[in-house]
Symmetry: D2
Subunit: 415 residues, 4 copies
């Protein structure tokens, strides 16, 4: 349980607020507040990550941008039919969904927008600022949950903030992809930014410069919820046991909005790149690693990943490990988004800025960290949360339990 003497009322602004993940985040938060469900999958609710003062469930206020206008309660019903939101929960959150809906604004539409991107940014900033004021929030964490974008070629203006702002002002140019425009607006509005997608977002040097200038923390990118989670858990085992991985093949089948986007090879490129980087970091680059993402509409929000690992052991013996992971993607993602909002909010409260590398635990392609091994990420996160606690409470000793906690991040049996 998180402290009521926490970092105070925090806004959570979702880019892509009507998407599957976002709708699950919103539905889940409402259900948690109403006590309709347990916080399964929320790591900030359990040891050793629960020691810092974090905003409580009813201190989180949600708003966001999207470019479609399907009402949230309709989206939640669709998710319910798909097995993501139990029918009983749906009944209890209908009113709450309508309230959040009234805080969703129209986002930046890449093909419909007219005028300069600077103007577009001003609108986005205005939405953020008025949301913060309207609800009397101490801070607003912006989380990108919009559709994955294709990778963009770097240009000179991406390297330098001044040059970038000049280009933004030019109505004939579209220098930033939507995710980066969203990041720009967030930073300009004084908001920490978290990228849960593999899109370009805040990774451009000019935007990192802006974050430094504003003293804002950020985190990313690409939520680690399935195949990659398992890879970062399993690959270190082979290394620790001195077994030689020769190939690691993967196939991902998914439907839903994300499946449709990633079924297009151009859009999948950024996701495939972020996955491949991780495997190479864990096992070296001489491992054959074919990887596919297939759009299989009938699977809806279920994602199935099959991985086949071929490795060599003593005396050259050839062996294999296969796994099949079948999960509801949005169910896996949503509690992490709530965790990220809480932790980033606390980091902001504690005055942290720059990339939050200790949040690598959550991401396929961690900003500010080269650590891909999940057990190490778990340990680093526990340590960082404990430091945060000290910063925010001034209490260096912690609660009796917490010291043990930080030494033993996965300790003991499940609650």
């Amino acid at each position: 349980m998180n402290s009521p003497h926490g970092v105070g009322p925090t806004g959570l602004w979702l880019i892509g607020a009507r998407g599957s993940v976002a709708t699950t985040v919103i539905s889940g938060l409402l259900a948690l507040r109403a006590g309709l469900v347990e916080p399964i999958g929320c790591v900030t609710e359990r040891a050793p990550f629960d020691v810092a003062p974090l905003p409580a469930w009813d201190e989180l206020v949600i708003g966001g941008h999207d470019i479609v206008d399907t009402a949230l309660d309709k989206r939640a019903e669709q998710l319910s039919a798909a097995g993501l939101v139990p029918a009983s929960v749906l009944r209890g959150i209908a009113e709450g969904l309508r309230v959040v809906d009234s805080d969703i604004r129209c986002g930046y539409h890449p093909t419909l927008h007219t005028g300069s991107q600077a103007e577009a940014a001003e609108t986005l900033i205005g939405d953020l600022v008025s949301f913060r004021e309207r609800h009397g929030l101490r801070r607003v964490v912006v989380v990108n949950l919009a559709s994955t974008e294709p990778p963009v070629p770097l240009v000179a203006e991406h390297q330098d903030l001044a040059a970038l702002e000049q280009a933004l002002a030019d109505p004939t140019r579209t220098v930033l992809p939507p995710s980066s425009l969203a990041a720009y607006a967030a930073l300009r509005a004084g908001c920490p930014y978290v990228d849960f997608t593999p899109s370009t977002g805040i990774t451009l040097p000019a935007l990192r410069e802006l974050a430094d200038l504003k003293g804002l923390p950020y985190a990313g990118r690409d939520g680690k919820t399935g195949e990659t989670l398992l890879r970062t858990v399993l690959a270190p085992m082979f290394t620790a046991r001195a077994l030689k991985v020769r190939s690691w093949a993967g196939t991902n089948l998914l439907g839903g909005g994300d499946g449709a986007t990633l079924g297009d090879p151009e859009f999948a490129a950024s996701k495939l790149e972020s996955k491949a980087r991780g495997l190479a970091a864990l096992l070296g680059s001489d491992v054959t690693a074919p990887l596919h993402i297939d759009n299989v509409p009938d699977m809806g929000d279920v994602k199935t990943a099959w991985d086949h690992v071929s490795f060599e052991g003593f005396l050259g013996a050839r062996m294999t490990l296969q796994f099949t992971w079948t999960g509801y993607d949005s169910s896996l993602a949503a509690p992490l988004v709530l965790d990220l909002a809480r932790l980033t909010s606390a980091a902001h409260a504690a005055g942290r800025s720059g990339p939050l590398g200790a949040l690598a635990f959550f991401f396929k392609d961690p900003l500010g960290s080269d650590e891909h091994r999940f057990a190490e990420q778990t340990r680093e996160l526990a340590h960082w949360v404990d430091e945060l606690r000290v910063s925010l409470t001034g209490d260096a000793d912690g609660l009796p339990g917490s010291a043990t906690g930080s030494a033993n991040p996965e300790a003991g049996a499940q609650a």
Copy 2:
């Protein structure tokens, strides 16, 4: 590569020296010495476990007990036909196999033996002592690789050394199972003892008392090479991510001598118990966990394990992970036996005694440790090896690499 200034010539005495694992250990060591293969799977050959001075490959001398008398080169040929020892390697080690063969003695046969167990123990002790003297060895590590025994009911004499020795002297009683008699003989001969099987072995209080008395280290039990290795890698992931595991079912198919033994439910009981204890320690005891070991003779030395994990996520979503592991059991086990011989030998040289809990990394049911999480075991082992280095070399700073090494036990890409 391990230091030539190591702990010096070490004997490795295998109980069950003509079995699959033992023959693979012997073949592999000969092949390593002859430079015919790489030390894949030997963790003491790579960072961060390679910092302590350990016996080099050509400082290990092998002997052992068995109750069958098939010649080692015949056994190696059988393993080669089964795909475990490459034909090219076989040719290069034929002579070496015959040499080792001459150091294998007839072990204690539970049903053929006549006389008291004390007499039997004397014979075993005699074999060990004369082996040590014949080869001028500083120490001999005894490793149990014999067929798995059924669990035995504890009796009063198992609790107290004096009472035990009285019972041993009684020719009408058979107070100890073979593995425990072997452990008794090892300790009495001043040898560290490692149990790679789930048999009773050294776990009886009276034998632990003897180990303390003699100031000897020991380790065990039940080598962790497949399904359990994966479980100790994967279960902490669910805990760290606050996902609720509901059931974890497993089926193991195996042939070979081990398959035949474990196909008998009475004998499988000890293996099933050691596996179940591990899962409960990792996930708590309310996880449904049916587990089977099936004897499938046609699979020979290949072991296939299928696990099916059902877990609950955010908003109650039900998801699954399945894996299939297909490995050559003896290939996975053999390098660990070499590692254990080296590390236990160094521990003995450094004056350690009692259960070596830091070797939990190697075992399904670790003696002297409650830690089942593989990443934590890896870290603890690295730390312990570094301490061993300090004890043996007096060098507190270590090699430049070692400090990093111990902080980063699975660091970086594969060699």
Copy 3:
């Protein structure tokens, strides 16, 4: 669509009418009648099995026995929460469920019943007869969907009808298991009997004698819906390709009522026997074939089967096939129950009696047939249905499509 000029109003009497399969049968039939769902999984709705005149959906009237009294609409709600009945369907069939509920009677309770089994049988017969009369039905097909029973040892009275009836009259004896008592009552009431379970049911010689005497058809046993279905599809492939299967291991995980029953080894025995018989019939008896059924309550009505086939090819190469089948058991079973009711009803109308071997297509352990190969069963069923059509309509030529149909039972693409 089946002919309105069919065999006329038919009763479908379910033993175990409040179980998962039965509730799915009832819910599904109501939904089909209301046009709320497509008849997916109902083979009598498609070529080549749709040629005979069969009772239409609204000509089937359901009643049954059970020994629990949970209301059907409650059970349907439970199944809906488990993902078996869509929420939208549930709303449309609520009234229908209550109507069927009024035709469910209290069945024979093996441990609570007092008096002779003959008396019990009279009650059951009375229920059947009054159901038939109340609804003006031409015939009533009794289908056993009750919990699986353990196998019973054969006694002399099971071999001979007169002896059996004498024993039934003896209030101190319990000569028949419930499934056989149900079969006895059905036959005595002039009803064809179908056993969808692996219980003893009608297989006793004395009951077969009674069926012959009454000129009644019967069919069974043990609905083929998952692992065994796949085995009877895959095993013939190995035979046809002259590949030598060496082992075929299987593990079944299931929850629900059936899981709880089959989790008990005594009760699972009949299921395991019926599965093993099938594999031996397909591949011979020298195939190693360990088989497990595990009760995993958290899986509810989902059944997961993993099979691992190891086979030998040219030059002795060893290869494997694994499959994982994840299905809703009751969804797979229910449409087959409707098909069986229709087909058995038509067989009765056409004057067939004795075991309906041509229904082997539906069963793990087919009565009246030694054919386990699924493709052959499909062909035989098609042929039989066409004969039935001729019997019932006198039309030897069939519809234009039907000739092709019966020659090509799995013809072309899916509808």
Copy 4:
């Protein structure tokens, strides 16, 4: 066992004679002749396909074309190291391999050849004719086992034999891909032609015209040995049970020469097309069916296919079937090549010409047949073999067993 009074000495001319499949064919035939192995995987050795008089193992004489010159015994050693040919067999066939080697000629090299393709064809024809005469063979069956080619765009000359021959004579053109040139040469030399690859081969109308002209039989294409075999076995099950397949995804991992070729998307195109055609023919075209072939060199000759089938059942329940097939591709292919040589030879002896549709049993993309369902193909083949027997022996009644045989193609347990 096949009749010694068969169709007499038959040549088997392999295009790609030094490849993996071809070397396995040759090694296997030599081992069969020497009685070193059983004919596992050879369907013509068992009922019901063994009724026709076919060339005996020692009546088959092998020669072939290749464009590399690695000696056959070297290739066999490589296959032995890869686990395909047992070491014991290798010793017994060394001399035989050298004999076959002396009948392998240099084939048509697409990039090194100079001059017209007509000249190249003359050389190939000369090789075939002199092989036939040198060994006094009644007939020579040419089987294409060369590397898969990319699909070629159809041009006008492919439609008409006269136009084709004019283009062949033009030294500035390369109108035929190598597989089609090989087919052309085979037909011109009076040899039946079998295409075991998905290459263009004999499928061009002009070549079919030539086959008709010469009264020669031919068969193809693309040997069915793994994933597709299973698909043609499993898909009819879903259809027969009225279950609605929604998606069928597949991933194939393979190394070896075939892996390297098919890893190139251009070359894989013909294989992917032939696989996709089959699935659509079985299930209709509205099934989502992503399919991948990945080159994973470390897997050598092992091919692993993972398929994931998602289907809908009663009341819309969503269920899945997954399978993993792990096989030695050349082991699976080689016995089929021997079967095809025997059967095509007998067809030639019996005066059959044109596409042998009854051989669809062997192929992914059967020429002369639209039947993809494996059980139906099995039945058709049995029927055809029986007809062949009648043609060749004049005996309409057959052996006592054969009548049953043809009605029951997969009958009973394995031999």
